[in-house]
Symmetry: C2
């Protein structure tokens, strides 16, 4: 192998399965943090991650492993940034080890020695070129059979990250870019231990893994055979659904729930680490987001309609609709969404917020997991008013979007088109409804809403009836293959 | 005068002109704090004040002096608690001296020696009977020619209140109830001075004034003749409008803007004080409201849908629609309303919040003064959605309520009745619209909405057009005599 031989491409696999409850109420199960433009105003961390993988000289077509519920979100966010990817759907959460196993098997099917890069969808990287250079530099170690990690130069004695103690340089070409063996992985330390670790030269574990597919499969077979067997069966039983690959639900569910760190990395003798120094965060908490956000002279990071007085070093994320004001407080986090407000301290870890979300779930509060703005393959809707016998929604349908053919047992609906043109089917009769026109859908009628136009369709839906819950939608036919949701 | 002679009635006058911006965003110019159920969940401080005056053996029919803009609010809140009152409307704000002058003149017109009790609409009194007993006890001093105040026994060295240093007992019968002359009024002190004042026996100035009308008029003539002249002219030029007495606008505006404390109390030699000890607050700040609110074991006072973790001694007022959560903070105030959220510290004075509202006004933010829920004589409305070319409102019309006959230049409207029955007039054609029926109002049509029924009418209004502002309402006829608003 000589240095003039073109280097083989890396097969990136984005793990996008997290729910990010530490960033509630912006991040929720129904729309987790990796899909929200948190660190940048116009782009989610998932999108930024996908865009970091577009260097055609370095990366092959990426794959995404996502929760099945988030499939339309993944597809739409990729389309928005013009990135094509394979999308594999996890039927349930089993932590990262089964996902890494699926990723290795997926790549090995084409080339057993394919280089696979595992990366998380929710990390923020300050210098994308430095990230690409690091991935390229780690290839030599991976090609030589190491499972390479990226070890980030710590900037603070963070207690939110795991650390890696580097060992001796990898031998021969594998160590060319400065790659070292891993002496030890250290779990999230306390502050004193973190400072000591940094003094000893430890690095932050960035959660990146670059390996040859065959190497990872060998290590899984040795250290986590049940995980590997479940992943193999889940791929064998996989089905295609539109553009998605659905892993076999019962096979995948049979995997132990375990992270790749515990399943393989802490047990293998083949772990390597490339020391790197680009700016990086996993935005695991609101405080971490504040750190990577643009701040004004008073140290405040704000979003939306916000008014501050005598307030410093705070993160205040409001909306365009509601005015959010803070007076006379430092180091606070205020996040106002249309249906939930969180006030907490910037200095706390995310444990309190996570525990709060668990409290809310236990109390049956819908805001624990569901957003008011709900994304659907055809567009989105949000409730804007709710009364004893009525509900009002604003519905947005993308050009070409088609809602399911459906009926309701307990409500009639009035649709007023406020933008664009709707094609409305009621009991087999199709008509166009234009801006400032209305349609009436009596209880029990079979109806469908389509946007036949070139611009988004917006309409106000007034539901009137004894029950207006989402589960009174009887689907007769759906182009998106949905039975529910 | 013997003790068996029935004591004459006190003529109470409630001053209800404040705007309460220190309690923003709950309290705003368009719906100030005295009308909001803040200290009690079901009753505003204005209503509680009116109900404290219903002892027919002590009080005559009360009068209310209110800002003209709040007239329907005053009338409706009085009707809700079944209290009948004269309502005098101030065309503009001139502080308390002109209002007291009007109150004295209003009472003197029937009886020059009438006993007048001035009281604020925004105070909270723990023991209403003790208040009534105090008013009765202060009568002797007032009848003898003193301008009596109530001096509350201080419970803390508060810096938010003025203090009264009592002098020698009033002579003869005037001093029977323990009434003293006033040695000195002291403006809001700092904490050290407050403690010293309390050590010297000083009392909180509760802002109550009980006097003979002729005495107050003599003192105004001596110390504030311009105020008295303006009040006389404003009453001379007053007009009746429905059940309201509108003071003459230009005459009233000619008064100096000055408080009765500065104009008379600090100058007169006739001030008296009755020491009293009922629990009392002027709920001048969110922190003061926390103090008088029911608190849980952690010291939290909450309202609405609220979730707390590791939070103590805080006031959290949310709504039923939005979930408001606080994690890991003590001594904070969080007030979430449908269109504005405030986060501040409980220990601060209200100066920061007041200054914030001034900032917001300067920035032209509508939330500075207007509430999303707007009260009208016929009912109320609130915006529930707003887009580039549309707006959605929920409109509630009281039984018998009639909106003005009106038209719009820039918008069409769709009305969907979700509760009750509407009588809709469109270009002279009247029809009834029932629940789950809709009406369409094309641009430019002359229309009116009436609730002819026995239950409230609720409808969803979808406005579509190039401009949906409130000022595109051209009133052709209005039963409430409104030209605007």
């Amino acid at each position: 192998m000589s240095s003039v031989e073109p280097l083989e491409l890396i097969h990136p696999v984005i793990l996008s399965g997290g729910s990010g409850t530490r960033l509630w109420p912006a991040s929720r199960e129904s729309y987790p943090k990796q899909f929200i433009p948190l660190a940048a105003p116009d782009r989610s961390s998932f999108q930024a991650t996908a865009l970091r993988l577009t260097d055609a000289g370095t990366f092959a077509r990426p794959a995404v492993i996502s929760a099945a519920d988030a499939r339309f979100l993944v597809a739409e966010q990729l389309a928005q940034v013009g990135v094509a990817a394979d999308i594999l759907l996890e039927p349930c959460r089993r932590d990262s080890a089964p996902a890494v196993a699926v990723a290795a098997l997926h790549a090995a099917a084409r080339d057993p020695r394919a280089l696979v890069l595992i990366l998380a969808a929710d990390h923020v990287v300050g210098e994308p070129e430095a990230f690409v250079a690091a991935a390229r530099a780690a290839r030599a170690g991976a090609r030589a059979g190491a499972i390479m990690t990226l070890g980030l130069a710590p900037t603070t004695p963070a207690t939110a990250y795991g650390y890696i103690e580097p060992g001796p340089p990898l031998p021969g070409e594998a160590g060319a870019g400065g790659a070292r063996a891993v002496a030890r992985f250290v779990e999230k330390p306390d502050a004193a231990r973190a400072a000591a670790l940094i003094g000893e030269g430890a690095l932050w574990n960035g959660g990146y893994f670059l390996f040859r597919a065959d190497v990872m499969l060998e290590e899984l077979r040795a250290h986590a055979p049940a995980v590997l067997a479940a992943a193999e069966a889940a791929l064998r039983g996989a089905t295609r659904d539109l553009d998605f690959v659905r892993l076999d639900p019962s096979a995948f569910a049979a995997s132990p729930q375990i992270s790749i760190d515990y399943a393989v990395m802490e047990r293998t003798g083949r772990a390597g680490v490339l020391p790197v120094s680009f700016s990086w965060s996993d935005i695991g908490t609101w405080g971490a987001l504040w750190e990577v956000s643009a701040q004004d002279e008073a140290g405040n990071a704000v979003r939306g309609r916000v008014a501050l007085r005598e307030t410093r070093n705070s993160l205040v994320h409001g909306t365009d609709e509601v005015l959010t004001a803070v007076v006379g407080l430092d180091d606070v986090v205020v996040v106002a969404t249309p249906d939930a407000v969180l006030v907490t301290t910037r200095r706390a870890g995310g444990g309190g917020v996570k525990a709060l979300v668990e409290d809310l779930r236990a109390r049956g509060e819908p805001e624990a997991d569901a957003h008011r703005l709900m994304y659907r393959p055809w567009g989105s809707y949000q409730r804007i008013d709710l009364g004893a016998r009525f509900q009002v929604k604003r519905i947005t349908v993308k050009p070409g979007g088609r809602l399911s053919l459906q009926k309701h047992h307990h409500r009639a609906e009035h649709w007023v088109v406020v933008r664009g043109t709707a094609e409305v089917t009621v009991d087999g009769v199709v008509r166009l409804v234009h801006e400032n026109e209305a349609a009436y859908l009596p209880i029990g009628c079979i109806h469908r809403l389509v946007n036949p136009g070139k611009i988004p369709l917006e309409l106000i839906e007034v539901q009137v009836g004894s029950y207006t819950g989402e589960d009174d939608i009887i689907r007769i036919e759906d182009v998106y293959g949905r039975e529910n949701g």
